[in-house]
């Protein structure tokens, strides 16, 4: 198929070639006309001169009387180089003394029609035979005329230059200008329109041609409308109409992306299936409008609670899915879930009705409980039913052992917080004895937790929890304070120089204020730092 550019290129080429063909034809025709006029002029000159000689000739002895006539003819015409009057091969008269012999008759022009410009440019000699009479006897003489090469060449080349300068070059320039105009006003806009029609991106700027501008404008409007409609369709296909939350399609899209990402980074995320408890009752008692309003409110609450990068979607009537990732540990995860439960459990005012809600949450982990969206949904749904069975308004993890472990960790964390408040921790100092001397050379402070119901709990159990929950900072501060205070007491009481070792968690070293706090404690107790071993 022909492109616009090629079409116009071809069209202009045809026009230009046609014009040039016309110019060439006209040029050749004009050259021929000139040649004809020159030939005619030469013929007339020869005829007239021949007639004058013929009618005035008496005898060969008086032939010189015609020399002035020949010289005059040559002098009067720029096109004539010389004229010769000859009898047979004998030159009787010549206006050019350098001519000693006659040119061959074959090289002479004797008929004066259809002489081409090319032929004239070959410096031909024209000749006619004239009848003179000596008494009443016919004496044929030959009158020859040589043309002026320079004048001829100049005469014809002038026309050539005129044609080139007035027709060939202007035509070329006009054609090029036309090409440029067509290119910028028509072809380029058409190409831009074509690209825009294909890709519907980057609309071209306004065109000069009215019709093209109308097409451009229509396309812009159409594509704008299509884009808006497309966006609306896309949004409606991925958004829950009631809550404005992503729907199942959108959830799956984002989930698939997250699965790929987590697969690459070998990380975990939690898939939460949230079902409002007793929502049917609300619908039945307060009506569906209130139910819908409540759902919208719940959606808003959950969006506030979760982080920006977490995923939330409404997948059923009163069913929501929240996907949580990038949590430090299950305790942090549990905190987030607890926040959701807590927020949902508040009393909400829907319309004029105070409504108390709660939710049961089933949790499945990627990749442990499923590696695709369908399995994760199914397993979290199962876990959610477990939560319902267990009395609603609670979390249930799909894997029972994990469920138990997390519950235990959460319980321990809660106990740990209480322990800090209730001062259930104690520091024990284990002496360090020099075996050689049997003397005590130092002591290591060791924290111990006396749980009110569970008795002594090993640091191996609570220290990791404290570190995971951030309680380690507070616990570490307490340990440090206690240990340094004890060292001061020992020094005051016994003036000993025992080296006291204090265990510091890595979490504490990561705490920005650790060193400043440690320094201020040392200053507070006025201790020699040499007696502290961290």
């Amino acid at each position: 198929m022909l492109s616009t550019q090629r079409f116009f290129l071809g069209l202009l080429a045809i026009i230009m070639l046609s014009l040039y063909a016309t110019f060439i034809t006209y040029y050749l025709s004009e050259q021929q006309t000139k040649a004809d006029l020159i030939t005619e002029e030469i013929h007339l000159t020869l005829s007239e001169t021949g007639y004058l000689i013929s009618t005035s000739f008496d005898s060969l002895s008086g032939i010189q009387s015609f020399k002035s006539l020949l010289n005059r003819k040559v002098a009067q015409s720029n096109l004539i180089s010389s004229m010769i009057l000859a009898q047979g091969t004998t030159i009787l008269l010549s206006t050019d003394p350098s001519i000693k012999t006659l040119p061959s008759r074959l090289d002479s022009i004797t008929t004066f029609s259809n002489i081409s410009a090319q032929k004239l440019l070959q410096s031909p000699t024209f000749e006619i035979t004239i009848e003179t009479f000596s008494q009443n006897k016919v004496m044929p003489l030959t009158l020859l005329l040589k043309v002026n090469d320079y004048a001829f060449a100049n005469y014809f080349s002038k026309t050539r230059i005129q044609y080139i300068s007035t027709l060939v070059i202007p035509t070329l320039l006009v054609t090029l200008s036309l090409w440029a105009i067509l290119h910028f006003l028509l072809m380029k806009p058409l190409v831009e329109l074509k690209k825009y029609a294909y890709y519907s991106k980057r609309p071209p700027s306004k065109f000069k041609i009215k019709e093209l501008e109308a097409i451009r404008s229509s396309l812009v409007q159409t594509f704008d409308r299509l884009e808006k409609e497309q966006k609306a369709l896309y949004t409606s296909a991925r958004t829950d109409e009631l809550s404005g939350l992503p729907n199942r399609n959108h959830l799956n899209e984002r989930l698939n992306w997250l699965i790929e990402e987590s697969s690459r980074s070998k990380s975990e995320f939690a898939y939460l299936f949230i079902d409002l408890d007793n929502f049917k009752n609300i619908n039945d008692t307060l009506g569906h409008d209130i139910g819908d309003e409540l759902l919208m409110m719940i959606a808003g609450i959950m969006q506030e609670v979760i982080r920006d990068y977490d995923i939330i979607a409404r997948v059923g009537g009163d069913e929501f899915v929240v996907v949580l990732s990038q949590y430090q540990n299950h305790i942090e995860l549990n905190h987030i879930i607890q926040r959701i439960i807590a927020k949902l459990s508040e009393i909400h005012t829907v319309g004029t009705y105070p409504v108390r809600t709660s939710a049961s949450i089933g949790v499945a982990f990627y990749p442990k409980d499923g590696i695709d969206s369908r399995t994760l949904l199914k397993n979290s749904d199962i876990a959610m039913y477990e939560a319902k069975k267990s009395g609603k308004n609670q979390i249930h993890y799909f894997t029972e052992s994990l469920h138990q472990t997390i519950l235990a960790e959460v319980e321990l964390e809660n106990d740990l917080r209480s322990a800090l408040q209730n001062q259930e921790f104690e520091l024990y100092y284990q002496p360090k004895v020099d075996i050689a001397s049997g003397k005590i050379i130092g002591a290591e402070s060791l924290v111990r937790w006396h749980h009110p119901t569970k008795g002594m709990i090993s640091p191996l159990q609570f220290i990791p929890i404290a570190e995971q929950t951030g309680l380690m900072i507070e616990l570490g501060e307490w340990i440090l304070h206690q240990a340094l205070q004890q060292q001061q007491k020992w020094q005051e009481l016994y003036q000993t120089d025992l080296l006291l070792s204090i265990n510091i968690s890595a979490v504490q070293f990561g705490y920005v204020q650790f060193f400043s706090n440690f320094q201020s404690l040392c200053n507070q107790f006025d201790l020699d730092l040499k007696l502290i071993d961290i």
Binding site: H43, D58, E131, N136
Partner: protein, 298 residues
């Protein structure tokens, strides 16, 4: 859209019409030559009456028959008026001419004039200057003259001049020696004023036949036959007008006949025999005998 198409079509049609108008050149005229001769006066009359223009015929006039030939040879003419002598001469040079309209037969119109009588010429021992246009019917007339009067042994000094130049020379230089001038009407009238008398003419030289006709190229005749038929009718009309109102005819053709007087003009008319009507049988025989083609006569 349809409206635009109509406008474009209209513009194209106007442009084409304009181009056609510009490019339609007038048809080139039929160019004829004739010299001053009473026999060709119907052509001059037709020209003066404006009859030639509608036929697209341009008539150029020259002084002599020799000049007619020379001018015709330039290649710009379609035909010429002349005697059978000029016709034969041009035919030899492949002129491809054909006589189409007969004008006249010289019946005293071509003549030999001299300051001596024939007897005096016979007796003279001096060289006799002979003024004539060698390259014309003059030569034939003179040849027949010397043959008829047995003057072959005389010494003649031929001077090749057309009749007008001859007349000019006679006017300038007094005649001091035996002289013969071969000429034709109307130049004889002026020459007779300078002591020259007609001693022989086509009226009394029986051997010579001098007919005047219009010769055109065959191709031109083929292309414009209708024009020439019309021209022939106009020539007949001119001769009829001459007979009807010779004075008016004379006034029209006077400038072409060296401004001769009405009397001279009338005398000239007596020296020719019009051949515009049917040719007589004897004349046809004579013309056939001289291989003068009359098949294409209109």
């Amino acid at each position: 859209m349809l409206k635009n198409l109509k406008v474009i079509l209209m513009i194209i049609m106007i442009a084409l019409a304009g181009l056609t108008g510009c490019s339609s050149q007038p048809e080139p005229p039929i160019k004829l030559i004739a010299n001053s001769w009473i026999g060709y006066s119907p052509l001059f009359y037709a020209k003066e009456k404006g009859w030639l223009k509608p036929l697209n015929i341009e008539l150029s006039t020259v002084v002599s028959l020799g000049e007619s030939i020379m001018t015709y040879k330039t290649g710009h003419f379609n035909g010429l008026a002349g005697t059978q002598y000029e016709f034969a001469k041009l035919q030899k040079q492949n002129a491809n001419l054909v006589p189409i309209i007969m004008f006249d037969r010289s019946n005293g119109g071509d003549m030999v004039m001299s300051n001596l009588s024939i007897n005096s010429l016979k007796k003279t021992t001096e060289s006799v200057d002979v003024y004539l246009e060698i390259n014309s019917i003059n030569s034939a007339v003179f040849k027949d003259f010397i043959k008829a009067h047995e003057l072959e042994n005389k010494t003649f000094n031929f001077i090749n001049k057309d009749p007008l130049k001859t007349l000019a020379q006679i006017k300038q230089s007094p005649i001091t020696q035996p002289l013969i001038i071969v000429t034709y009407s109307p130049y004889n009238f002026e020459l007779s004023k300078h002591g020259l008398n007609i001693i022989a003419s086509t009226k009394n030289i029986e051997d010579i036949l001098v007919v005047d006709a219009l010769y055109v190229k065959k191709s031109c005749l083929t292309e414009h036959k209708a024009h020439f038929i019309k021209l022939k009718q106009l020539i007949n009309q001119a001769i009829q007008d001459l007979h009807t109102n010779p004075r008016d005819y004379y006034e029209k053709v006077k400038p072409y006949l060296e401004n001769s007087s009405y009397e001279e003009f009338s005398a000239s008319l007596n020296q020719i025999e019009w051949l515009n009507s049917e040719l007589s049988e004897p004349l046809i025989k004579k013309l056939n005998h001289t291989s003068f083609p009359i098949r294409d006569l209109l």
